[in-house]
């Protein structure tokens, strides 16, 4: 969904709760993706999660979009391979993170140009599985650098069920863990001399 998160999200949450037959007070925790991703979308998800959490008096846990993608990849498809999760940042760059076959992170979430990927990521030494909607943008540069890979075309976006399962395993759940992971500072330029006409 490109637009409309802000309108769709809470009605969707109420429908999901109704389908699960649960009251909010019966939940133990709220899980939410913290990024990296589109800034406005992240904020809508986080505002909703934090609002639900304070209203229900329960903790909220943040899960990165990249780990949710890596954990969402089908285990059979992974078959012992390292996983590179890549998200299209809708600009020149992509957001990427490499995981070992046990899905332990081998790098931090980073904002990179596709051409920077081969040099930045440690060569895992075996064929990788690429997941995420940025996989097709990342693949050519990696192949050109001689890396072996396969693109998992099924795992394009984070699955909320995976997000919930990852958070269920956490012990550090509190509000402070649900902070946005923007990876980029806000775009803003300071005016020369603060805009004054006679510096």
């Amino acid at each position: 969904m490109e637009r409309g998160h802000a309108e769709a999200l809470i009605p969707m949450v109420t429908r999901v709760m109704a389908e699960a037959g649960l009251r909010y007070a019966q939940l133990d925790r709220i899980a939410v993706t913290v990024g990296p991703g589109a800034f406005t979308g992240l904020r809508i998800g986080l505002a909703a999660a934090r609002g639900l959490a304070i209203a229900a008096g329960i903790p909220v846990s943040g899960v990165t979009t990249l780990e949710a993608l890596a954990h969402g990849a089908d285990a059979g498809l992974r078959s012992g391979r390292p996983v590179l999760a890549v998200i299209d940042a809708k600009r020149a760059d992509v957001y990427a993170q490499l995981f070992d076959p046990g899905l332990r992170p081998l790098s931090q979430p980073q904002s990179l140009l596709p051409d920077e990927l081969p040099a930045t990521l440690a060569d895992p030494g075996r064929p990788m599985l690429l997941v995420g909607d940025g996989a097709s943008r990342a693949a050519p540069a990696l192949i050109a650098a001689g890396l072996e890979l396969e693109v998992a075309s099924e795992s394009q976006t984070p699955d909320p069920a995976v997000v919930a399962m990852l958070a269920a395993g956490r012990t550090d759940a509190d509000q402070r863990s649900a902070v946005p992971l923007y990876l980029r500072p806000p775009q803003a330029t300071r005016p020369a001399h603060g805009g004054r006409l006679r510096p």
Partner: protein
């Protein structure tokens, strides 16, 4: 959609208000008997100051960083749990969309958990109704709304019934104060800085234009005045501006703004008195209403026209969440609730335009 609670006595209504439309993150709890039970407000001023204005992405980030904590603090101070509320109100527009979405989404989440009515409040309606929170002003009244983003003359007939007599055809008045202050090196925000500097100034030294003065209608225009300030600065002898130059220019600028406001308000008062001979209040709201000089001038005008000037205290003139909670209470009483799929609106005019050229 949850039903509007009708069994509760009006005075016992409790509404949480959330304001995130610009650069203040705020939460407040207000009661139906006009008591502000709790208020929390965080200004992002320091974060935007180096840029000489508000940076939308910085504002949106800051709203998300602080809003949940401010809401929890306000609820704790009010001594209420969320289940004790009768509604959740949030600014739904107009304003910076990134911030509006944060506030509106959090309000929806709280409303969803406790099955409370959601009240999507027009920020301008918040300002328009604030005199009823602070002074219990009766309908109808004439409203002059002057802020960093808006400049309007509106007849407030009832909740949801607003007749706009005029608006700015270019810049908002507060924006004009900010630009003038920036050019003079007085920093951001410009309003308080210009007012302070003008205190030692000679308002007669520089002949600045009085936009639209003497013309029919109630519209405003400030871009020409802004340009005139620029040209005046450029025409001064080279080098750093003297303290007196800055003071005189600020005083001349403020006098020009006041003359223009007075003229436009005068036209609006005539229309208002014609339509509502029994009414007796001129309400001024919005951040610019904090300017003492302009208040004095408007108070004189109101008196000469047989009206009382109602100006909410400064903290309730600038952006705040109490006015949003109050507008929420007024809307709740009128049965004007919103659905959880409400879409925040960056542009959202208050009422229908009349008389505009």
């Amino acid at each position: 959609m949850p039903n509007v609670t009708t069994s509760v006595e009006d005075a016992d209504l409790r509404v949480l208000g959330i304001e995130t439309s610009c650069d203040e993150t705020a939460a407040a709890v207000v009661a139906g008997d006009r008591r502000i039970l709790a208020e929390r407000l965080l200004s992002q001023l320091a974060e935007h100051q180096p840029y000489g204005g508000i940076v939308p992405e910085i504002a949106a980030r800051a709203h998300l960083d602080h809003l949940d904590r401010l809401i929890e603090e306000a609820m704790a101070e009010a001594g209420l749990g969320f289940a004790d509320l009768h509604g959740v109100a949030a600014t739904g527009g107009p304003g910076l969309i990134g911030g509006l979405m944060v506030g509106m989404t959090m309000a929806k989440a709280i409303a969803a958990v406790h099955g409370l009515p959601l009240l999507a409040v027009n920020h301008l309606e918040g300002h328009a109704l604030s005199a009823r929170l602070t002074d219990g002003t009766a309908f109808p009244y004439l409203l002059l709304l002057v802020s960093g983003g808006h400049c309007q003359l509106v007849i407030v007939e009832a909740v949801g019934r607003y007749r706009r007599l005029g608006t700015t055809i270019d810049d908002a008045i507060g924006e004009c104060f900010d630009k003038a202050a920036k050019m003079l090196g007085l920093g951001y925000p410009g309003g308080p800085a210009v007012e302070r500097a003008a205190a030692d100034g000679d308002a007669a030294r520089f002949a600045l234009p009085r936009p639209l003065k003497g013309r029919p209608g109630c519209d405003f225009s400030f871009s020409g005045l802004k340009t005139a300030v620029r040209h005046t600065i450029e025409a001064l002898p080279p080098g750093r501006l003297s303290h007196q130059d800055v003071a005189d220019l600020c005083a001349s600028f403020q006098a020009a703004v006041a003359d223009s406001l007075e003229d436009r308000c005068g036209n609006a008062i005539k229309i208002f008195r014609d339509r509502h001979p029994e009414a007796n209040s001129l309400v001024v709201a919005g951040g610019v209403a904090a300017n003492g000089y302009l208040r004095t001038r408007l108070s004189r005008l109101a008196k000469a026209s047989g009206l009382d000037l109602v100006a909410p205290p400064q903290a309730l003139c600038t952006d705040n969440a109490a006015m949003i909670a109050w507008a929420g209470i007024e809307r709740l009483r009128a049965g004007l609730t919103d659905e959880l799929d409400f879409a925040a609106k960056p542009r959202w005019p208050l009422g229908a335009a009349e008389l505009e050229s």
